[in-house]
């Protein structure tokens, strides 16, 4: 992961309820908007963060009220960094089947990590699989609409 000058950081621990993270996610999106990130990047970060939080709450902690999800959101001039940790046993990301395979296309689940990987610039799990760090660099992947800051 990159070394950045973070000018905004938000950290919290939330219960394993899917609505618990909404205020913090909204703060992150508001910060991105205030710092002139383009709509496309904001959309992608929003979706990736929501998918990662749901994964932590639902698959990691199993909606267990006694388990928490810890996260940190950070913002620099050109980078958003999201780190999320659950208290579950973990998993092997490589074991998640490809949802775009013909055999899996009509399965109702299994697309969250794919969306995270596609909308973020990079994503890494720890060995246990209960901690993920994602980064989004401004304007990546190639996107002419996002390569310059939007006007205020």
């Amino acid at each position: 992961m990159t070394q950045e000058q973070w000018f905004w950081t938000s950290s919290a621990r939330i219960p394993s309820e899917t609505q618990a993270g909404y205020p913090f996610v909204q703060q992150l999106l508001d910060q991105m908007k205030q710092n002139q990130w383009c709509e496309r990047d904001i959309f992608g970060v929003h979706l990736a963060v929501e998918e990662a939080l749901v994964n932590a709450i639902k698959h990691g902690n199993g909606y267990d009220a006694d388990k928490l999800v810890e996260f940190t959101f950070q913002l620099s001039d050109d980078c958003v960094r999201v780190a999320i940790t659950d208290e579950g046993a973990g998993f092997a990301p490589g074991d998640v089947p490809d949802p775009t395979d013909d055999d899996n296309l009509e399965l109702p689940s299994g697309r969250g990590i794919m969306l995270m990987r596609n909308f973020m610039s990079n994503i890494e799990y720890n060995d246990r699989g209960n901690h993920v760090v994602m980064e989004k660099r401004r304007g990546q992947p190639d996107d002419e609409q996002c390569n310059s800051k939007t006007s205020a």
Binding site: T18, Q19, F43, L47, V54, P99, E106, S109, L115
Partner: protein, 117 residues
């Protein structure tokens, strides 16, 4: 007829047109309710021609996509047709990334979708 909180349902020329009340379809509880309301249209009300209009939708999660996939299966099992329309480009990108644009019949707008039934 069941009370609906997540959907706005209307009839146009024999086609059931469905819009979503939530701009961001993210919350797991709301998605469960959304699924029940969608499935009820097919399994309880026996509607066979469904058009999902995504005009109001800014964001939808993979869990919501899962409900759409299940709906598609139920519609087909009942001998019906399902079409999607008015999907904004960023949401359409989600369908492309997941290859679901190959599974669903997606039209540009409601008029095009209705004409295709």
């Amino acid at each position: 007829m069941a009370e609906r909180h997540r959907l706005e349902v209307s009839e146009v020329g024999g086609v059931t047109v469905i819009r979503f009340t939530d701009k961001k379809i993210l919350d797991e509880a709301n998605i469960q309710e959304l699924g029940q309301e969608l499935f009820g249209l097919v399994e309880e009300e026996n509607r066979k021609s469904l058009c999902l209009n995504f005009t109001n939708v800014d964001l939808l999660s993979s869990a919501a996509l899962g409900k759409l996939i299940t709906l598609d299966k139920k519609v087909k099992a009942h001998g019906g047709k399902l079409k999607l329309c008015n999907i904004r480009p960023q949401i359409y990108q989600v369908f492309v990334i997941t290859r679901l644009h190959k599974l669903f019949d997606i039209k540009n707008d409601e008029a095009e979708a209705l004409a295709a039934f």
